[in-house]
Amino acid sequence: MWDLILNPFITVLVFLYQLLGQNTVLAIVAFTILIRLLTHPLTVQQQRSLKAQQELQPKLKKLQEKYKGDREKLAQAQMELYREAGINPAGGCLPLLIQFPILIGLYQAIIQVLGATPLQLLDLSGRILVPQLNQLIPLSNQFLWMNLAEPDPFYVLPVLVLITTWAQQRLLTPPAADDGGQAAAMTRSMNTVMPIMFFFFSLSFASGLSVYFVVSNLIGIVQYAMMGKANLGNLLPFKRGQNANPPAGEPSPRKSTPAK
């Protein structure tokens, strides 16, 4: 079943490698952009759904207060509210669920084609759907000073992974998450833990995978900036603690606070 996703991905990745002058890094970049473009409508749908749900929050909280202690009536009222607003409560999850196997497939395809170890290269046999593309295996692993199948010996890529992961986390943090509440505390932890975690992954993973992490982060930033979701103010230290102006179309965090 998993092969239905992985094998075409690997074949396309190898095809891109051939198309782009047998440059593995370019192939990874192009493949990541391609997959992100294909999943972009899902990302947009997911964001729209999240935004709509965010806008309903004050009304939902009112309902929670009104039907405190009566779960059945609360559920009915919530469903009615969703129906009136034309929102599917699972609408934010479905695109994510569809994207998830695609992104895992993307990640796995990159690991497999790098063929960092004999076992990984062995697993590649039979996965390339166009027999002539077998002549390109294994992909060339040399890029600048690096062997893409091994960790970067000079730690440049791990540092880039750290910076871009941090930047992406910060840029995508909504202004409401900086208001000092519980969500803000949680977000701050995520913003610190995730970049450090990916930095350490990159120290031991094949550097080709680090290339993917960096490209993926940069694409993520561009993608969300195009949707007006990137909060550039979050990158500036002196903005910390203040509520940056929300991007166009984003409800103000003050406005979204339920009325007393």
Partner: protein, 376 residues
């Protein structure tokens, strides 16, 4: 009256818990990334037969076994600072006194065969050592994982020459009559002089070559990732014959009595007449890929597969004779000991080595298992 401070603490308890969870995950990642032993297999065991047993390179050690499957020494020894900090998969080369092993730490080790003590270490390789090592005329030949092959002085470990290839060398160099034949992932088969590493010829075979060539009567036989088995003239590199298989051919073909035997990564086995490459027989023997060289013993052809099974087929017809599950992927070459014992190395930690007699009965295993389990 409830103190606002206490109330605030309670309200933050789940968040604090989640935050602690995140930091715990980070701590575990750090531990796994930097401090844990190098125990996740990146490859299969490299196994070599010695006069009186086996040398096995797998995970974090090289182990010498006697022919009953009893470990005599391990390198690095338990407690050695090196233990757990590198991995060994390259098939070691063995001489009367010394075992030569290549590590994932880019180093080549010479080890005293009697006691497992290190004699010298060479650090000239630029990448992991994946290819098996070869010893010939006072030199240790080492294929390097990212590119090239080098020759080391057998006694001192000093580098004598290096020959560059476009991509990695994962196949054991083959030496015949003072010529080194090197198969590379850059799709070329090279012939070099043993003395200086000077190139005699190179031949582009169209696909990566991960298995060593076999040599018989002036001809080299080698499999490629272009799903081909190719016969090459050892004297000048000219391609004599090509056979199209169904999938990648990674193993070194076995040539005996004018017939070549090779498996592919779809589980097929091909028996070809060496002169013309006319199939004597071809059959899908295994459910999954065959990476190991077929082992010809008497009338039997023994084949190990990724489907955890050792197969014995009739060498003349390919007809199945017996098959035995071994409890793990068979990717390492099969070893014949004392002409009557076939030792199989698997990817399973519980059944690293399984020795069969020629009728398919288990004789011993490493680690040892109780007799009741062994008979099952």
């Amino acid at each position: 009256m409830i103190s606002p401070f206490v109330g605030r603490q309670n309200a933050h308890q789940p968040v604090a818990f989640l935050r602690r969870g995140l930091w715990l995950i980070l701590a575990l990642v750090l531990l796994a990334a930097g401090c844990g032993p190098a125990s996740v297999a990146g490859s299969w065991a490299g196994v070599t037969a010695g006069d009186d047993g086996l040398i096995v390179a797998y995970l974090d050690r090289v182990t010498r076994f006697n022919s009953s499957g009893v470990a005599r020494w391990e390198f690095p020894a338990p407690g050695d600072a090196l233990r757990g900090h590198t991995q060994f998969y390259a098939t070691p080369a063995v001489t009367e006194d010394v075992v030569y092993a290549g590590g994932y730490d880019h180093k080549v080790y010479a080890i005293n065969r009697d006691n497992g003590q290190m004699l010298w270490v060479n650090e000239d390789a630029t990448s992991r050592i994946i290819a098996g090592l070869t010893v010939a005329s006072g030199k240790v030949l080492v294929g390097i994982g990212d590119h090239g092959v080098m020759a080391l002085n057998q006694r001192t470990g000093q580098k004598e020459w290096f020959f560059d290839t476009g991509q990695g060398v994962w196949a054991t160099p083959l030496v015949v009559d003072d010529v080194v034949y090197v198969a590379s992932l850059d799709k070329h088969l090279y012939a070099l002089t043993l003395a200086t590493g000077q190139e005699l010829w190179r031949q582009d075979l169209g696909g990566a070559i991960a298995g060593s060539p076999a040599y018989a009567d002036g001809v080299l036989y080698v499999g490629t990732f272009m799903r081909t088995i190719v016969a090459v003239n050892a004297a000048d590199g000219a391609i004599l014959n090509t056979f199209q298989a169904e999938n990648w051919v990674w193993d070194t073909p076995t040539v005996t009595d004018g017939v070549l035997y090779a498996g592919d990564m779809s589980g097929n086995v091909y028996a070809l007449e060496t002169g013309t490459f006319t199939p004597v027989w071809q059959r899908k023997v295994a459910r999954e890929g065959i990476r190991t060289s077929p082992l010809a013993v008497g009338d039997l052809l023994l084949i190990g597969s990724r489907d955890d099974t050792l197969y014995a087929v009739n060498r003349a017809s390919g007809t199945p004779v017996w098959q035995q599950p071994v409890g793990g992927d068979i990717l390492s070459n099969l070893i014949l000991l004392n002409d009557d014992l076939v030792v199989v190395s698997t990817m399973s930690q519980d059944r690293q080595l399984v020795a069969f007699d020629l009728e398919g009965k288990v004789v011993w295993t490493y680690p040892p298992v109780a007799a009741s389990q062994q008979s099952q």
